[in-house]
Amino acid sequence: MKKHRWVVPTTLLVSAGLIAAACGGDNKSSGGAAATTTATTAAATATTAAAGAATTAGGATTSAGASGSTQEGPVIPAAGSGKYGQDPNNKNLYVGPSGFQIDTTKCPSDWNINQGITNSEIDVFASYPKSGPLAGFALLYDGMQAYYDYVAQNGGIDGRKIVLTGKDDQYAPASTKTNSDEALAANKYAAFNTMLGTPNNLGIWDDTNRECMPQLLNGTGAAQWGDVENHPWTTGMQLDYFSEAGLWVSWLKQKFPNGAKVASITFNNDFGQSYVKGFKHYIQGTNIQLVGDFDHDPTAPNIDNQYTSAAATNADVLLLQTTGTYCTQGMADVEKGSWHPTVIMSGTCGSLNQFFQPLIQEGLTGKNTYLIQTFKDPNDPANANDPIVTTYKQVMQKAGLDATKTTYFTGFIFAWFMTEILKEAASYKGGLNRANIMLAARAIQQTNPTLIAGLQSKMDGLKDAYLTEGGQMVKYNVTDPKQLGTFVPDGPLINNEGKLGTYATVSKSG
């Protein structure tokens, strides 16, 4: 027998492999990142991730209208407050709002506080799906870069331009980790700016916190991003599902002062279960009672069984804590059945075209369904004269992008917050550096014009680690059953801003 015939191949191969890897070398990501060109290639409308991870804030329509802002000139965050920053007595200590501090001696010895920040540029990094089934989310980053370019044309961050470099991870946490590791090792980024996906962010947040890399405005609704005590360098952005359930409870208390029985149909994954946890947390001490929670599998063909069980409870309220086509099915079941509860649906199902249009074909409407809205819809005629919407449309037109794709607008939402953070940090003692960026991310307090008028979103150091906690309950109103209806506000704006606190509250409610 030829005993050693594979020795040579092995060695040759290993060397070939090494050469191949070496040739790849550093990946110079395309400088100015994804922006400004024609949008014809994209198969673009971002679908709501069933996993509940990265849901876009756009997609919902409202007639709530009334643009609150009277701002003239460029729609960009105002100059920073200059309230926080480097401690005058200890140059390694950065003191932020409500007890939040950064001690830079706890960072790695070679940590560079000015990394990624020059006199002309601020380099930020994001890993997100550019290919694969969720590639539609890539538009979000094009929207972000478009807004950053707009900011740069209007003064930038003290003359600096924000440059977003993006790398593809196909929404696979393992690839996000590789991209993140490389970005951490590249020593050229000031911060991570909005990574998508709950597991993707969970997979890297130990690394970012160890390396003192600000991991800002995560694009997922998980409650973990409020863990300011253990992960001070990580923040979220959007209304988490836990808080959304809290808004429902606030609204139900007004709508049903004498108490209500509630049944729910829940998408059986982390996304759906977050609603259940939140709802149970917020109904404590109220006269609202959860009489039945019926789970459906992420792959269930329909939710008819769950609907039948829920109907058997004869509750006053039905919660559709699900997403995608299950929302449409749930609304159809209710409209066809004899049980007529008040239906509250996940805000992820706010897209009229995606989830309400199919009902019309069935001869149904989905009327009187309630849901929470937080951000403006640029497609809503009522918002047509809103400064942020007109700016958005101009910027999109200039960049050659299709403004009707609301995912771009979601990019604006994130980018506005990021710009505010950087402007704020630039005003702090010690100047624009990464420690001050982190303080600023915990001190967001300006009114983001993309929010529904009257809402605010704030961060407050160790006291409030959730950015978006308010919303408007809207009711789907139908006048012509053959046409799509509109959302009309029902009840006052619900602003739970600051009430959730930090992740410690959420984890205790287990």
Binding site: M1, K2, H4, W6, V7, V8, P9, T10, T11, L12, L13, V14, A16, G17, L18, A20, A21, G24, N27, S29, S30, A34, A35, T36, T37, T38, T41, A42, A43, A44, A53, P129, K130, S131, G132, A138, L139, K167, D168, A172, P173, A174, S175, T178, D181, E182, L184, A185, P199, L202, G203, D206, N268, N269, D270, F271, Q273, P298, T299, L401
Partner: protein
């Protein structure tokens, strides 16, 4: 004509072998310094892990002739066993490996049972079911597995005190994990290689090529076929555990059907029915999708265009097709061809019977599946009798 002609088991031949071994091992050990960046070292650790998984798959597909599209489930099961025990029950990474092996071995054995009755495409479908069901089960028992958020542990394996690697540096822990995975992986490769060269391996290959004649020669088909499925699953499970040592995070999407299919693809590209073939397969598995993603990001005429990244899938597919056309026998086939050009090893005439005719060996290497398609010719038989005399 080959550049060098060596006679088997002469000092010259031994010297060549030793040089290649030493060089090969030195290269493997040098990788952390060569890769330099922690992210790149981690990728090489992934190469080791996936090479082990693909080698395991090769035992089933290449050596025993049963198609499995379900190995992602075994890798996933091993990974989840490790990560759940480490994250929720404070086990050490090492102590989870034997348990991961036992669990996946048992599962593989059970899935191997239907393989006794069905063959080919039908078996592929049955095993595909395992691959499809696994992520669903992970989601179904979310309290236990972490569901769609995945399960992660913040405790990572650090170099022990006696090692020269600094646990506080960025390089130390990453390099340590590479060496650890490399050591365990190498051990598994040696075990698999020896097993395939032993009676068991010959029995497996015999039943792969012709079940009836193997059974006639006394090969216990059911035992071999189920045991190899179990063993293969067990090794794949260890690969899963090693993956968790590399990155302690398991998610449902990481161990889905995609993994199963791409493992088979990588296996074919690396070289089927070849134990070392799993090494190029692992390199392909990790680096090809990585670089196609980066390339497509940087193509100027597509770059910075919304949705440009989607092209990477197309590149990856094209590359695989081209590869199959150029090197149908996989990378190992190519290496054998190159080797045959450079070095020719002829049997030592001392071992041949006195009346034996001159042995003629061509420049072309043997096909990995010669026996499956062609009937043995007279010359093949002669070669077998003469060369099996050691």
């Amino acid at each position: 004509m080959a550049l060098v002609t060596l006679t088997e088991r002469t000092p010259a031949h031994r010297a060549y072998q030793t040089i290649f071994w030493v060089l090969g091992i030195a290269m493997l050990l040098y990788i952390p310094w060569f890769a330099d960046k922690p992210a790149r070292i981690d990728q090489f650790t992934q190469v080791v892990c996936y090479a082990v998984a693909i080698m395991a798959l090769n035992l089933v597909i290449g050596f025993s002739g049963q198609i499995s599209l379900g190995h992602s489930a075994f890798v996933g099961l091993g990974a989840y066993t490790t990560i759940i025990l480490v994250a929720d029950h404070n086990w050490s990474y090492f102590s989870t490996i034997p348990l991961a092996f036992v669990l996946t071995f048992a599962c593989g054995f059970l899935i191997g049972l239907p393989a006794l009755r069905i063959r080919g495409l039908y078996l592929a479908v049955v095993t595909l079911a395992a691959a499809t069901v696994f992520p669903t089960l992970v989601l179904k028992y979310g309290d236990f597995t972490g569901g769609p958020n995945g399960k992660q542990s913040s405790s990572r394996l650090l170099p022990p005190d006696w090692s020269p690697l600094d646990p506080k540096s960025r390089f130390g822990p990453v390099a340590y994990r590479y060496f650890l995975c490399l050591f365990i992986g190498a051990l598994l490769f040696v075990v698999a290689r020896n097993l395939m060269r032993s009676r068991v391996g010959r029995a497996l290959i015999a039943q792969r090529d012709n079940q009836t004649s193997a059974a006639t020669s006394g090969v216990n088909l059911p035992v071999y076929r189920t045991l190899i499925f179990g063993l293969s699953a067990g090794i794949a499970g260890i690969a899963g555990s090693l993956l968790m040592i590399e990155t302690p995070q398991a998610t449902d999407t990481k161990f889905g059907v995609n993994l199963a299919i791409f493992m088979v693809v990588a296996l074919v590209l690396g070289g089927i029915a070849s134990i070392p073939g799993a090494i190029p397969a692992g390199l392909i598995f990790v680096f090809v999708p990585y670089y196609t993603r980066n390339w497509s990001d940087n193509i100027s005429w597509l770059g910075n265009r919304p949705g440009a990244g989607a092209i990477s899938g197309v590149f990856y597919g094209l590359l695989l097709i081209v590869f199959i056309f150029v090197l149908p026998g996989g990378v190992m086939d190519g290496i054998h061809r190159v080797k045959a050009r450079l070095i020719k090893v002829i049997p030592n005439p001392v071992w041949l019977p006195k009346d034996h005719a001159e042995v003629v060996i061509g420049d072309e290497p043997a096909s990995p599946f010669p026996e499956m398609v062609t009937e043995p010719t007279d010359s093949d038989l002669t070669a077998t009798t003469t060369r099996g005399s050691e």
